[in-house]
Structures are given as structure tokens and as C-alpha cells.
């Protein structure tokens, strides 16, 4: 199939970017979206042009790197897929595909389609951990965890930090990501010890980094490649409220 593309090109964080149109002949419908971009880049390199910079790593939907905003949707069309899991058969031949980087104050563009996603690391550094003594592993049965709680915690922990939630949100809010991280700890015994400080520290960091507020639009849930539910956001709202009224003034 012949592919028509409109791609955001930006030399560096400082410079202004613009859309550039490309065409790619003889792409196969079986190609993944990233393979199609590889083919485009090979063509550009052979022509002596600068290839399109985009992020990727695992190419199997677990690292969360391949953050592309395709035709008005993070990770393009399809439910619960990352860009690397998307195939060219999902597109109509002849229709221009528009590719943009994530747009958010928290994630400035570094080059072309690559954004700086350090903001998520900063939120995790603020509280997304447990302070564990690294000794010998204890017997697994010494901490009992209810099966349904373990399942719920796992559902929250499947977040790959790709930031599609921020990209999809009309307010560029990071609530789904932060709430999934808060939840995966809050649901388990090991995480409960620091739960109050954690939720406050992570929310404070999230606000500080300039992400928007939640308007409960739920576009995040619709676009999450891992199907993380907005019930996590409700849980964080409860946790935060409990923590605020339950801690002393410092």
C-alpha cells in the first residue's frame, strides 16, 4: 500500500517545529506502525535527509516508549494497543496519517516526535516506592494478602508509564498514571505503611510539574493501552482526602 504522512518535525527543544508531508510506496499492510516509520527513515537516509526521530524499545507493548499521537488519538486507532502493536492494515490507503508528539506542558518536545518524559520519573521519585530494608527475602506467606486485593493491585501495576493518559486528556492531566501508582501500593500491606505521605507527595509533585486537573472526562481510560480504570482516580481521591485530614500540620 502507498502511505501518505504528515509528520511533526522539530530540530530541537528550542527550535520551532512544523509539519512535513511524506509518502511511502510499497508498504505492506502487515507492517507494524514502527516498521513503517523504519522504512520511511531508510528512504530519508538514502535521500540524504534527516530521519524522523521517534522513541521505541521493546516493540511488544510493555516498555511504553512508542508514544505517538496518530490521527487525533494516542497510539492511534484500536483499543488497548500501543503504537508498536498497531499495524498498517488499520489504515485506509490514500488517507493522510497525521503523526504528532505528546502535547503537554509536563512533556516538552526534544526532537521531532520524542518528548521528555522525565516528569513521570520525578513523580515516582516523590513517592512511588516503598522504603524496604534489603535483607534476605522473608517467607512469602508471612504477609497475607487477599486475592481480590492482589488482583486489583496487579491491574493498577500493569501501567507501563507511556503517558497516553496525559496525551489523551483535554487538560493534559496525569491523574490516571499517578492514581495507578498510588493504588498499586495502597492496596497492598507493604505499601500501606507510607500510604499517607506517598499520596500527598505524589499529588504535590504532579501539580508542581504543570499537569492539568481532572475533569472526569475519562478519555484517559478509553486510550490506556493497558486498560487502567478510572476507579484508580477515585481511589486516589479517597486516599488523598483521608491523608489530608489524617496528618498533622507540619
Amino acid at each position: 500500500m502507498n502511505i501518505k504522512l504528515k509528520v511533526w518535525r522539530q530540530k530541537s527543544a528550542k527550535e520551532k517545529g512544523k509539519f512535513v508531508k511524506y509518502t511511502l510506496e510499497n508498504a505492506s499492510p502487515e507492517m507494524s506502525f514502527l516498521e513503517m516509520l523504519d522504512a520511511l527513515n531508510t528512504k530519508l537516509i538514502l535521500q540524504g535527509d534527516d530521519p524522523v526521530a521517534f522513541e521505541h524499545d521493546c516493540r511488544e507493548g510493555i516498555c511504553g516508549c512508542c508514544s505517538l499521537y496518530i490521527n487525533g488519538r494516542p497510539h492511534g486507532p484500536g483499543e488497548k494497543t500501543t503504537t508498536c502493536e498497531l499495524h498498517m492494515r488499520s489504515f485506509k490507503e490514500g488517507k493522510t496519517i497525521v503523526i504528532e508528539p505528546w502535547r503537554s506542558r509536563g512533556f516538552p518536545v526534544l526532537k521531532d516526535l520524542i518528548v521528555d518524559r522525565h516528569a513521570f520519573d520525578k513523580i515516582l521519585i516523590a513517592g512511588g516506592f516503598i522504603s524496604n530494608e534489603a535483607g534476605t527475602a522473608q517467607d512469602a506467606n508471612s504477609i497475607l494478602i487477599r486475592k481480590d486485593k492482589a488482583d486489583e493491585a496487579f491491574d493498577s501495576a500493569v501501567c507501563i508509564g507511556c503517558a497516553a493518559c496525559v496525551a489523551a486528556c483535554k487538560n493534559a492531566s496525569a491523574m490516571l498514571f499517578v492514581s495507578a501508582k498510588v493504588s498499586q501500593f495502597a492496596l497492598l500491606q507493604q505499601g500501606k505503611v507510607e500510604a499517607k505521605q506517598r499520596v500527598q507527595a505524589m499529588v504535590r509533585k504532579m501539580d508542581e510539574l504543570g499537569f492539568g486537573n481532572c475533569t472526569n472526562t475519562y478519555a484517559c481510560e478509553a486510550e490506556c493501552p493497558k486498560g487502567i480504570s478510572v476507579t484508580n482516580i477515585a481511589r486516589m481521591n479517597r486516599e488523598f482526602f483521608g491523608a489530608r485530614i489524617g496528618t498533622q500540620k507540619s
Binding site: 511533526w8 509539519f19 499521537y69 490521527n71 487525533g72 488519538r73 494516542p74 497525521v98 504528532e100 502535547r103 503537554s104 506542558r105 509536563g106 518536545v109 489523551a168 483535554k170 487538560n171 493534559a172 492531566s173 499529588v203 504535590r204 504532579m206 501539580d207 504543570g210 499537569f211 492539568g212 486537573n213 481532572c214 475533569t215 472526569n216 472526562t217 475519562y218 478519555a219 478509553a222 486510550e223 478510572v230 476507579t231 482516580i233 477515585a234 481511589r235 486516589m236 481521591n237 479517597r238 486516599e239 488523598f240 482526602f241 489530608r244
Partner: protein, 226 residues
């Protein structure tokens, strides 16, 4: 005010939701009295006047009124603060507009909110300020109203077709606001539950249709019968 700016995004939303709940209860009570403008009982006028008398003189209601005005003020101020921050969070817009699924009316909360606010000001001018003696009661309309005769003042307004039209459009837009607002307020307060949330959403849909429809019935009655 400056303290309000420093609240976390979550705290702002709790306040917003709590104030919203207060406003939604107020709307119900207001509707309950207003409906007696329509003559579906013999003594509808008396019931309406009794209702107005109770609401304008009861000391407990006077105290509630302070909370109500506070609720409006806080809801509006925080609504605007949150919205400004939300716009700032995406300095460069997407070229291709968003196609993600989501609560449709949530995207227009600030606009439907501002429409409600404009109407609120007109509405206060028509009734509340008259009661306070800040504005004159209307004169020279089809029926002359005295200062506290809210019944005739309402009839005066609704006998104006343009006013009635605006009133109907306003309440449709308010229905849009309420449709997202009801379930959103529960979520903001952390109340999301696999068993109860579908029910809350259904009640929200019902509320957002029935309450505006109730208000709309009144001008509709005047348009049809006068």
C-alpha cells in the same frame, strides 16, 4: 482567595463537588416551588405565595442562603481557576483534534457554566435585588407587580416570549452541565464503586433531564396558553 490558589488540584475538586451538590439540592427546592406557578391545582397561587413567603422570611433559610451564595461563589471561582490551569497545561495544541471517547458534556463545562452565571445575574436582577430594594420592580408590563409579588413578577417575565425562549435555551444548557456534573461530583469525592456507580450515573441522567424539563414546563405553559 490566594489560599484557594494554593490548594492542591484534588482539594479544589472536592470543594467544587461539595458546592455543586449544594447547588443541585437548591435547584430541586427551587423547582418544587416554581412548579406551582402552573395552575394544575385550584390553590396553586396560594401554595406558591406560601412557599415564597417561607423562603424569604424563615431564619433557617436565611442562614442557608449564606451557604448558598458562598457555594455559588466558590464553585464559580474554583471552576475558573481550574479551567485556566487546564488550558495552560497544554501550551501547544494538537493539529488533529482529539477523537478519544469520553464524557461528552465534560468538555463544555466552563461554557455551560458561564451561561448559567450570566443567567444567574439577570435572574438576581429580576427577583432577588428587587426583594433587597436594589432594583425597581418592573412597571408597565401586561400586569403590574408590586415589590414582593414574585408570582406576578414571574408572570410578567414569562408573558414575554423572548424571555421565555432564552429561559428554555438556558435550561437545556444547564441540563448539559448537570448531566456531566452529577456523576462527576461523586467521582471527585472518591465515590466510585462497581456496584453503585452505574446507578449513580442513571440517577444523574434522570436528574439532568427531569429538573431542567421541570423548569422549562413553566415558560412552555405560558407560550402555549397565552
Amino acid at each position: 482567595m490566594s489560599k484557594m490558589l494554593r490548594y492542591s488540584s484534588l482539594t479544589k475538586k472536592y470543594i467544587m463537588a461539595l458546592a455543586g451538590f449544594l447547588l443541585m439540592v437548591f435547584l430541586l427546592i427551587h423547582l418544587g416551588i416554581n412548579l406551582f406557578i402552573i395552575p394544575f391545582t385550584e390553590n396553586h397561587q396560594d401554595i406558591f405565595r406560601d412557599g415564597v413567603h417561607f423562603m424569604t422570611t424563615n431564619p433557617l433559610i436565611k442562614i442557608m442562603e449564606i451557604f448558598l451564595f458562598g457555594g455559588f461563589l466558590v464553585h464559580i471561582l474554583i471552576g475558573i481557576i481550574l479551567q485556566l490551569r487546564n488550558w495552560m497545561a497544554r501550551p501547544v495544541r494538537y493539529a488533529k483534534s482529539n477523537h478519544s471517547q469520553g464524557s461528552f458534556f465534560s468538555k463544555y463545562m466552563i461554557y455551560t457554566g458561564v451561561v448559567i452565571l450570566i443567567f444567574l445575574i439577570i435572574h438576581l436582577g429580576n427577583f432577588y435585588f428587587v426583594k433587597l430594594g436594589l432594583t425597581e420592580a418592573p412597571e408597565g408590563m401586561s400586569r403590574v407587580a408590586d415589590d414582593h409579588d414574585f408570582y406576578n413578577m414571574a408572570i410578567n417575565l414569562f408573558s414575554n416570549k423572548i424571555y421565555s425562549g432564552i429561559y428554555i435555551v438556558l435550561f437545556i444548557l444547564m441540563g448539559f452541565h448537570l448531566n456531566h456534573a452529577f456523576q462527576s461530583a461523586f467521582q471527585s469525592l472518591g465515590l466510585n464503586h462497581s456496584k453503585y456507580t452505574p446507578f449513580i450515573k442513571a440517577v444523574g441522567d434522570f436528574y439532568s433531564i427531569v429538573v431542567p424539563l421541570g423548569f422549562i414546563l413553566i415558560p412552555l405553559y405560558f407560550i402555549i396558553y397565552y
